[in-house]
């Protein structure tokens, strides 16, 4: 097994005449925790959307586990091991917490529609397995008691956590977290940092993270990429990034903490 999980080469995307991301290069090796930062509108979420197959790059090449991802739909990429959360939480709001998790486990089921109707042994077995696994995950995230509550009614912080949990339920190799700490207070952010560290240790998952909270990013990321206007202006460890004049310029007046 190669250690390179994901590799992008000169990936660019244009909407109309507007170049949104240009020549994005990134190599992610197994087990890394990489931060992607940059001012608003820098194209960070667009990078995520290209990596997960929501958008197709105008040019360039994305390889996941050595295979090109061009033309592969998001659901297929998810099966191959890329999972994500969204900047504005996208839970299945009217469904229960438990169902949110179970839906993410869909790809681990193999029984057919007729089997579902006649309740075949295989179906019952797989359903049982999914259920057990879901509760296991919920317990880890302290959401066990809320399993039957409607996801949309959870408090904000728990919704964020549930979304990360849902991303984990697909058994991913690479998780893309889009501003997981957005809207969280200091304490919640602290807890989130611990959680991220914990799941990394427990599941051995590689993480790519977009975040504005510099404390969080600098605190846990081993490597950071800085995007500005779609261009990668800096790449390196937190220290290097913090002292890079280009980064400071890009952030000038917006964030100095």
């Amino acid at each position: 097994m190669s250690d390179v999980l994901l590799q992008t080469k000169d990936v660019s995307i244009r909407f109309g005449g507007l170049v949104c991301v240009s020549k994005f290069n990134l190599t992610v090796t197994r087990g890394e925790l990489i931060g992607l930062i940059g001012p608003n509108g820098a194209g960070k979420t667009t990078v995520f959307n290209m990596l997960t197959g929501v958008y197709t790059p105008t040019s360039g090449d994305i390889r996941f586990l050595g295979e090109g991802t061009e033309g592969i739909p998001p659901c297929e990429l998810s099966k191959r091991g890329i999972s994500r959360t969204f900047q504005n939480i996208r839970l299945f709001k009217q469904l229960s917490v438990l169902d949110n998790i179970r839906i993410a486990a869909h790809q681990h089921t193999s029984y057919t529609l007729p089997e579902a109707v006649i309740l075949s042994n295989r179906m019952l077995l797989q359903e049982k397995h999914i259920l057990e696994k879901a509760f296991e995950l919920l317990k880890i995230f302290n959401l066990g008691e809320r399993a039957y509550e409607v996801a949309g009614c959870l408090p904000y912080g728990q919704q964020r956590r549930l979304e990360i949990l849902r991303a984990l339920a697909t058994d991913p190799q690479l998780v893309l977290l889009d501003e997981p700490a957005a809207g969280m207070n200091h304490k919640e952010t602290q807890a989130l940092m611990e959680t991220i560290g914990f799941i990394r240790a427990k599941f051995g998952i590689t993480i790519l993270l977009i975040e504005h909270d510099m404390k969080l990013v600098m605190g846990i990321c081993e490597r950071i990429l800085v995007l500005d206007h779609g261009i990668t202006i800096c790449e390196g460890d937190p220290k290097k990034v913090q002292s890079d004049p280009k980064v400071i310029e890009a952030y000038l007046g917006t964030s100095q903490d």
Binding site: F15, T45, N49, V54, F86, Q87
Partner: protein
């Protein structure tokens, strides 16, 4: 050649009527994202308002431009009032309900108007009053353009120009555009959204009323279900052009009107009713948001 020309003339005149009714659909959709199924019945009521007004004013048999404009204005006013009340009493209470509910309500209002029409106006077709004499004003070979055709076209185009002026250049129009762009933000900008929506219904319904009078003059048979088929086609025209898009509705109406005339004229008349939909499906497969509609990519 003569036949071809005649088909073009027929098509444009039919298309302009589809367009006029399509405008009402498109305006309401643009602002509320609601397929206002009751629109076709507002159109029907417009025809009957014209019918009774002409009787009441005793101008049923004095064709002149004066009677034409009188009836036109009365029908427009009647429809505006009806459209306003429908919005006020049936749709406004559902402003924050799921869209499908409003749609069902629209179907309910549509059925209500149709069946009430059958009781009040009677199910028998009536003759729309003769309010404008017809004569051939222009003849090219065997192809004829009549005064009626010309009046219909001029009136329809005139109304569309007025509408365009309202939407592009007036404060009301700006408010309407803002509301259709984003209702919530518009209300934050101090726009009274309810008032703007009412105005949209008033204008859209008035156009349906005008359409009814124009159709009534040309095809002087009116009955309570007259709106169903023409309403459906006009709606298809609106979708075809890109629903919510005003020039799109006009274009869609013309495309369907002309295509119908040509298919019936040169290929076969048996599939006429399927034609509008076939065109629509084919075009939507290539342009999912209609001819002039803009396909918005959902922000992730």
């Amino acid at each position: 050649m003569e036949e071809f020309l005649q088909h073009v003339i027929n098509g444009v005149s039919l298309g302009s009527i589809y367009a006029l009714i399509a405008l009402g659909y498109t305006m309401v959709y643009g602002i509320l994202q609601l397929i206002n199924f009751a629109h076709s019945d507002v159109y029907m009521v417009g025809a009957f308002v014209g019918f009774y007004a002409a009787r009441f004013l005793n101008i049923a048999d004095s064709p002149s431009y004066t009677s034409f404009f009188t009836i036109l204005l009365i029908a427009m006013a009647g429809c505006a009032l009806l459209g306003f009340s429908i919005e006020r009493f049936a749709y406004r209470p559902l402003r924050n309900a799921p869209r499908l509910n409003v749609l069902i309500t629209a179907i309910g209002v549509s059925l209500f108007l149709e069946y009430t029409g059958q009781v009040v106006f009677g199910a028998t077709p009536q003759l729309f009053p003769n309010i404008l004499e017809d004569s051939i004003i222009f003849s090219f070979g065997g192809a004829r353009v009549t005064k009626m055709d010309a009046t219909i076209l001029v009136t329809a185009v005139g109304l569309m120009i007025v509408l365009r002026h309202i939407i592009q250049n007036t404060l009301l129009g700006k408010a309407m555009r803002a509301t259709s762009f984003n209702r919530h933000w518009a209300s934050l900008m101090g726009i009274s959204v309810d008032r703007i929506i009412s105005m949209t219904f008033i204008i859209g319904s008035a156009l349906a009323g005008a359409g009814a009078v124009l159709v009534g003059m040309k095809y002087p048979k009116i009955e309570p279900l007259m709106g169903v088929m023409i309403g459906l086609k006009a709606f298809v025209a609106a979708v075809l052009g890109g629903i919510g898009n005003i020039p799109g509705a006009v274009l869609g109406g013309l495309v369907i009107g002309i295509a119908e005339e040509f298919v019936v004229g040169y290929i076969s008349s048996t599939y006429r009713d399927a034609l509008a939909f076939s065109i629509l499906i084919v075009i939507l497969l290539f342009r999912p948001a209609g001819l002039l509609g803009r396909f918005s990519v959902e922000k992730v």
